[in-house]
């Protein structure tokens, strides 16, 4: 049969952001799937070279607009590391809590869009958005903004958690735990969903390492590498959680890893809320940032909702000389062609959904 070339995107209902896929299809089988990216390329790496250090967090947040807090934090942490500044004890706990809340919010958005990609008619999508809003409300309480927080300062945060945050967070998380169970029931008790996910887009352990994928995609292929556990930062080593990994390497494994991660994050936040010390969490208003000379080159890894982000910064006084961001979506997307080869046309979208791509993150 002749090979048909179809062009998916950049305007297409399930590309979630602007990505163009050129798919060569033989009958119903995908022969080659070439992603064309760069529609959201804003040259952030160049842009931050021209800005003062603390002017950049807003740009960082726009990279991954689904989980802005994590980029905010990673960037500020890189600057802190370059300066050799210690983060205040309480600020570390608060940051951990906010990052985990952000992870839940991001995974909820992923769940909704992924369910849509496999043909769920918006039900899970709407539920997830509604529930995500509760998390956003907590983040809003903590930072003052719903979406782009710019919440981090050198050595701490812009503001401490408001009084009563504990109880409200606990209440929301208890509710969320129940809801995640409902989502799992809704989807996993549907044999069609299982059929769409299981055995689709299989990537074994060696292939995953070879392709360099990160985060839940890597853990779904049986590599239990989680920066939070293997290279802990902040207070993750004092908290009680297990990195989640599945060995199947298919879409269902990636789905399951994220669902379990949400539960782990809930556990983690609850744990952190109970162990959190009092004190001061406020950061410094630093006008002049002078990195220490021995720390001119900084490498910093963070486990973001989408995977491991590595910030490599060459620091100059006042401005970064070079900031290189290893964004998780970029490398996960690079693996798409390999994963999707040989699958059915309809599976392209299931696989895309299971990779959890944010194009702002991939294009930078």
């Amino acid at each position: 049969m002749a090979i048909t070339r179809i062009n998916i995107g950049p305007v297409h209902p399930s590309t979630h952001g602007v990505i163009r896929l050129v798919a060569d299809i033989d009958g119903d089988t995908v022969v080659n799937l070439e992603p064309h990216i760069g529609f959201l390329h804003r040259g952030v790496e160049k842009l931050v070279e021209t800005r003062m250090y603390m002017q950049s967090p807003p740009y960082m947040e726009k990279l991954d607009y689904v989980a802005p807090m994590s980029y905010d934090e990673a960037y500020v942490a890189a600057v802190e590391k370059a300066m050799g500044v210690e983060v205040k004890e309480r600020a570390m706990w608060v940051r951990t809590i906010l990052l985990e809340l952000q992870r839940i919010a991001s995974h909820l958005l992923w769940l909704g869009t992924m369910a849509n990609d496999v043909g769920q008619f918006f039900t899970v999508f709407m539920w997830c958005f509604k529930d995500r809003d509760l998390i956003l409300r907590l983040l809003e309480e903590a930072s003052g903004a719903r979406m782009f927080y710019v919440n981090m300062r050198i050595g701490g945060l812009i503001r401490d958690l408001p009084p009563g945050f504990d109880d409200r967070a606990r209440e929301t998380l208890n509710y969320m735990e129940k809801r995640i169970g409902e989502y799992e029931d809704f989807l996993e008790k549907n044999p069609i969903f299982i059929e769409r996910m299981r055995g689709v887009g299989v990537m074994n352990r060696d292939k995953a390492i070879e392709l360099g994928v990160t985060g839940p995609v890597l853990r779904g292929s049986g590599v239990s590498y989680d920066v939070r556990k293997d290279n802990p930062y902040y207070v993750y080593d004092k908290l009680n959680f297990e990195p989640q990994a599945r060995s199947e390497g298919d879409c269902f494994a990636r789905y399951k890893v994220r669902m379990l991660e949400m539960r782990e994050s809930i556990k983690l936040v609850k744990d952190a809320l109970s162990k959190m010390p009092g004190g001061d969490a406020l950061g410094m208003q630093v006008r002049l940032i002078l990195p220490s000379a021995k720390n001119r080159e900084v490498t910093l890894s963070r486990e973001m909702p989408r995977g491991e982000c590595m910030m490599y910064m060459v620091a100059d006084p006042q401005k970064p000389y070079r900031l290189s961001i290893r964004s998780p979506s970029f490398i996960n997307l690079a693996a798409l062609n390999e994963i999707a080869k040989g699958c059915r046309t309809a599976d392209i979208f299931a696989i895309m959904g299971s990779l959890d791509l944010v194009m702002g993150d991939a294009d930078r």
Binding site: R20, E210, G212, V223, E308, M310, R322, R326, E338
Partner: protein, 123 residues
């Protein structure tokens, strides 16, 4: 770990046999006098990182490809070519990855100036 670009493939190969089979990132820094190309490798289960550093002359900017060792190098090398104008020898580079513009030059080089009309061409 500093290395020469002629030995890069050899070094990467030997590191891979030692377990550094996960390529985290390939990036570069333009220090104007020379270009620093960095390869972040990781020993996956242990999570130990190794950085390969290759210094090259900006006027004669090329590195050998690591595609043979790490499939993950594909997009990073394309990005390297696009952003730093560093030619990657030993592989094909059929189209630009991130940018759709009419100008010339490598944006992340320090001497870069914008020289394209402010409109983009559909790819």
């Amino acid at each position: 770990m500093k290395t020469e670009r002629n030995e890069l493939v050899q070094v990467a190969k030997s590191l891979k046999t030692q377990g550094y089979s996960y390529l985290v990132k390939i990036t570069a820094v333009d220090y104007e006098k020379y270009l620093d190309v960095l390869y972040f490798l990781r020993n996956m289960p242990a999570g130990k990182d190794e950085v390969l550093e290759v210094q090259i002359d900006p006027a004669d900017a090329w590195v050998p490809t690591l595609m043979g060792e790490f499939e993950a190098a594909d997009w990073y090398e394309r990005e390297l070519f696009e952003m730093f104008g560093i030619e990657v020898k030993g592989r094909s580079m059929e189209r630009l990855l991130l940018e759709k513009w009419n100008g010339t030059g490598a944006p992340l080089r320090k001497n870069f100036t914008w020289n394209a009309p402010y409109e983009t061409e559909g790819s």
